[in-house]
């Protein structure tokens, strides 16, 4: 798919901008702080209903404005898709698709497919497990939209259960009498989420391994993905092998239930839920060793890039070509990684690239440019042959 037209109203620094776009690579070029990332961030927002730079919607609304609007016309095979999101911090957002309102914003998830790579992605390798869980869950929901409901219900059950555990110690009467009913929800939803994540990691692993090999060049160690869970799993954390079946939701729910029972006393003492997918981690391997704590800076960058290119390849293999967004990354990559990234960027149906200096972007990607400056963004394209 590709974005044919993007319109922003009071989104970040943009009071109003209307921008026609084309398939193929386009470079957004302009001095730092002019609003290039803000433009492509909006495309990412349509895919995940979140930003790659901040959590929460408030920073996305232009200072002084009450709401932001992101409106995009996309082309998906031969069909036109019009998506409009009204961002209302502190209140429910509103989403319309082809002019009809969706009952809930999260029903948009999975419709607009996009993969965004940015300097912030180094945190996928070096940051907290929460970063990697979010990475997995966003990809999960993009492939299987039904899981958006499972994820948000799981989060809500967790908040309810933690609130109950927190008050349990000081509570009047038998506060724990209702813990069981939350446990039932927790293991049911947790089992579904776990099963989906495991299957996803197994599907993603070969794509990440291939991307890593392309990015890191010959002689580099092999990249692998594993899943470390608070629920006992066979081969916990070890690299998953593509094609081997992963555990099913019912088994995982049963394992989760057992583990919760074992740790009940500890949970009451600490006033929080200690087992479940919210405490798990995606484990990145380079050769035989886990990457975390061992990978060099260059290897960490390659791995972060390979994770995102792996997502791109997986979504493409699913049959829907995502929009590739590369925010300010070419300047920081060495020649080998640039070339590997340029190969993918050229092959994508649409690639949106931001750069402060045009020369940082490989030449073959520069034909179409959006010049960003002084509050405007204008598409300039070199015609074929000139």
């Amino acid at each position: 798919m590709y974005v044919r037209h993007l319109q922003l109203v009071d989104f970040r620094s943009w009071e109003k901008v209307d921008l026609a776009l084309r398939p193929g690579p386009t470079v957004f070029v302009g001095r730092n702080g002019e609003g290039k990332t803000n433009l492509v961030e909006a495309v990412g927002y349509l895919a995940t209903l979140g930003s790659h730079r901040v959590s929460g919607d408030a920073p996305l609304v232009r200072h002084g404005a009450a709401q932001a609007v992101v409106r995009a016309a996309l082309r998906r095979e031969d069909r036109e898709l019009l998506v409009e999101v009204e961002v209302n911090p502190g209140r429910a957002n509103r989403v319309r698709v082809n002019r009809s309102a969706l009952p809930r914003p999260r029903e948009l998830l999975g419709l607009v497919k996009s993969v965004l790579f940015a300097p912030e992605d180094l945190a996928l390798v070096r940051g907290d497990p929460a970063e990697r869980r979010r990475f997995l869950d966003d990809l999960l929901v993009s492939r299987t939209p039904r899981l958006a409901g499972v994820r948000s219900d799981y989060d809500r059950v967790l908040r309810q259960r933690n609130a109950l555990l927190k008050t349990a110690r000081l509570a009047r009467g038998d506060a724990l009498a209702t813990l069981d009913v939350w446990d039932t929800h927790l293991v049911e939803l947790g089992g579904q989420l776990l099963a989906a994540r495991l299957a996803l990691v197994a599907d993603l692993a070969p794509h990440v391994a291939r991307s890593y090999a392309a990015v890191a060049g010959p002689g580099a160690a092999a990249a692998g993905l594993g899943y470390a869970s608070t629920v006992p799993l066979a081969g916990d954390g070890a690299p998953l092998v593509a094609g081997e079946p992963t555990a099913r939701a019912a088994e995982l729910s049963a394992a989760l239930r057992e583990r919760i029972a074992e740790r009940r006393r500890e949970e009451v003492d600490r006033g929080m839920t200690l087992v479940g997918p919210h405490r798990d981690d995606l484990v990145l391997h380079l050769g035989p060793a886990p990457a975390k704590g061992f990978a060099s800076h260059g290897e960490s960058w390659s791995l972060a890039l390979a994770l995102k290119l792996g997502c791109f390849a997986l979504l493409r293999a699913d049959g829907e070509e995502p929009v590739l967004v590369l925010d300010d990354v070419f300047a920081t990559l060495d020649a080998g990684r640039r070339a590997a990234l340029a190969d993918v960027a050229r092959s994508a149906e649409q690639t949106l690239i931001t750069a402060a200096v045009l020369d940082d972007v490989p030449e073959e990607l520069r034909d179409a440019r959006v010049e960003v400056g002084a509050g405007t963004a204008v598409l300039v394209a070199d015609e074929e042959g000139t």
Binding site: R104, D153, R161, T167, A171, G173, T178, D180, V181
Partner: protein, 199 residues
């Protein structure tokens, strides 16, 4: 900030559910500009609900007098009770005309985040109603969301030893929603196809 009386009115309106500061201001100035007869009717309506409307001593539905219209109606069956969260759910179910028994209004659902546990709901009162053996069937019609499901599961377990037939509204209701937003046909169907919970 406005002068005393106006600001007081804005503050009071702002405490109402679903009314933010801006709407509170808008309503306040609307009332200031309105005919005094219109405002008089609103004041009278507020005073009347306060003076006359009570919660039914039996089922905790809204009632004028000791008992609500449904509990007073001798044609309504006394052997089945439908448990709901709020009085507005009684109205929604009555619209379907599928149910001819009595109700029990819990006054909410279990939600630890909001500090609501079984002791904050009319659960003990429900148990008292079930003790004398008249009631043989219990239909749990709490909202089809996590808190409603948790409340239903808790109640089903609690009344299990009494040996009643306990059922839950069948699926088909919009998940994650509010009972009151379900249309009559969907709600009616969910009622007819209610499924037995074996505690």
């Amino acid at each position: 900030m406005y002068e005393g009386a106006v600001q007081d009115l804005i503050d009071e309106l702002g405490r109402l559910p679903g009314v933010g500061p801006k709407s509170a201001q808008r309503i306040a100035f609307h009332l200031l500009a309105a005919e005094s007869a219109d405002v008089g009717r609103l004041v009278a309506a507020l005073q009347r609900v306060q003076a006359e409307v009570r919660f039914c001593v039996t089922c905790y539905n809204v009632a004028e007098g000791e008992q609500c219209r449904i509990c007073r109606d001798p044609r309504r069956s006394t052997d089945v009770i439908c448990v709901v969260e709020e009085p507005k759910d009684v109205v929604a179910i009555e619209r379907t005309r599928e149910f001819r028994g009595r109700y029990h209004v819990l006054g909410g659902a279990i939600s630890p985040i909001e500090g609501v546990g079984p002791d904050d709901l009319r659960v003990k009162e429900l148990m008292t109603r079930l003790m004398d053996g008249t009631v043989t069937e219990l239909i749990i019609a709490t909202d089809p969301n996590l808190e409603g499901e948790a409340t239903a599961a808790y109640l089903a377990r609690l009344v299990g030893p009494l040996g009643l037939a306990v059922s839950r509204l069948a699926s088909g209701l919009p998940v994650g929603g509010d009972l009151e937003y379900a249309d009559e046909i969907t709600l009616g169907r969910a009622f007819e196809g209610r499924r037995r919970i074996d505690a």
